[in-house]
Amino acid sequence: MYKLLKEVFRTGNVTVRYPFAPLPASPNFRGKPHYEPERCIACAACTIACPSNALSMTTDVAAGTRTWEICFGRCVFCGRCEEVCPTQAIALSPEYEMAVLDRADLYQTAEFSLASCRLCDTPFAPRKEIDYVVALLVNAGLPEADAERRRAMLEVCPACKRQSEVVREAGSSGWHQIGVTP
């Protein structure tokens, strides 16, 4: 009995004061994914990596937009989105206070504009993604003029590229339509 009491007094009170005092989680805790839409290029790598489809991308061709969406209620906090993100736009934060009263509050969305194909005028890729690729090319040492020439090629949708390639193979250069000589 004495030993037990001694142990009890030695241990003291172990209960955390949590709801009345903040309880920070470890810096490596996998909590709420923190997303910065300004750094996102809408490449959709995270939505492919997400095992539980908490992340999704929907393309609205009529409006020329692509919408990124996360549902915190479906996220399993595996961190694969963070692993694949090329621009570090999404990272798991140690934030864990995510309980909500309304299901609609579990969603976060970001809308991006799509660039239209120079040949068929159909929206096909996010504008920010194309800008990022051109910026990377310039950063890698390509002269500005060459990068702009590449931009003309980047802003052509895959279907038109294939078509132009076939036309070029057949003899006449399809690239003349956009003023480019590959």
Partner: protein, 261 residues
């Protein structure tokens, strides 16, 4: 005829609205008039038991939810709160509904865990209804896979009106001139990739990215000291043999790139 077809949905919506108001009023009465502990009945509707383990972790002396009078009871007849975990499988939907009906009104339903909220990683399975709110009205959603005991306590505090909700729905629309800056533009592209790949290979994607980021900031910054001196100072400050090993191998990549040139 056309008047009727228009009028019918409006009355249905209105009655649903008043029903919601009644429920909300009843729940407020429950929270105001209850002069005893909140009794919780736990339904496991096809979960993997991780959520249940965390619920019991919240009952241990470290988190001790019983200090707020939150008590787990073995029968839904005694329950004020129904805590439902699991993705709501076809086999468990009827027992879950029976437990819900057996609990006296008014009651608060809490969807617990990613599966309870939306079905989680099992949301598109053939035998899964995908979320507690598919079969019963849910008052509080606690996301997490599984939610930690503090997240559980937070959810209960929210359900009982003690704390405010932090997470809000947010929409971002791209600004006309939004651009993404390239990180570490002063370092050649191929070297950047090689450094990050090596750091990730040695330390995993999370710490690897951090280490590569720190290293590249260090070698690209404007500083009078030579790079080797800066790196040595950084390593001496951190004093971590694992970090030293990784940074040395990153340095080897840098000098290899220089000799190639």
């Amino acid at each position: 005829m056309s008047m009727q077809t228009v009028a019918a949905p409006i009355t249905a919506a209105a009655s649903a609205q008043s029903e919601r108001e009644q429920t909300a009023r009843l729940k407020k009465t429950l929270l105001n008039d209850i002069r005893r502990s909140i009794y919780v009945f736990r339904i496991d509707a096809g979960g993997c038991n991780a959520c249940d383990i965390e619920i019991f972790a919240a009952l241990t002396p470290v988190f001790d939810v019983e200090r707020f009078g939150i008590k787990v009871v073995p029968s839904p007849r005694h329950a004020d709160v129904i805590l439902c975990t699991g993705a709501m499988t076809r086999a468990m939907r009827m027992p879950a509904l029976r437990a819900y009906d057996a609990a006296p009104d008014p009651k608060i339903v809490i969807a617990y865990g990613a599966c309870g909220c939306t079905g989680g990683i099992f949301h598109d399975l053939y035998c899964v209804w995908g979320g507690v709110d598919k079969i019963m009205p849910v008052d509080v959603y606690i996301p997490g896979c599984p939610p930690t005991p503090p997240a559980t306590i937070y959810g209960f505090a929210l359900a009982l009106g003690m704390l405010d909700q932090k997470l809000k729905a947010s929409q971002h629309v791209e600004a006309p001139d939004e651009q993404v800056a390239i990180s570490h533009p002063r370092i050649p592209y191929n070297l950047r990739i090689a450094l990050e790949r090596e750091a990730r290979r040695m330390a995993g994607y999370r710490q690897g990215r951090e280490i590569a980021d720190n290293f590249m900031t260090l070698i690209a910054q404007d500083d009078a000291r030579p790079v080797a001196q800066r790196v040595a100072d950084f390593l001496a400050r951190e004093n971590d043999p694992r970090l030293t090993e990784i940074v040395r191998s990153l340095e080897a990549i840098c000098s290899g790139a220089e000799t190639d040139r």
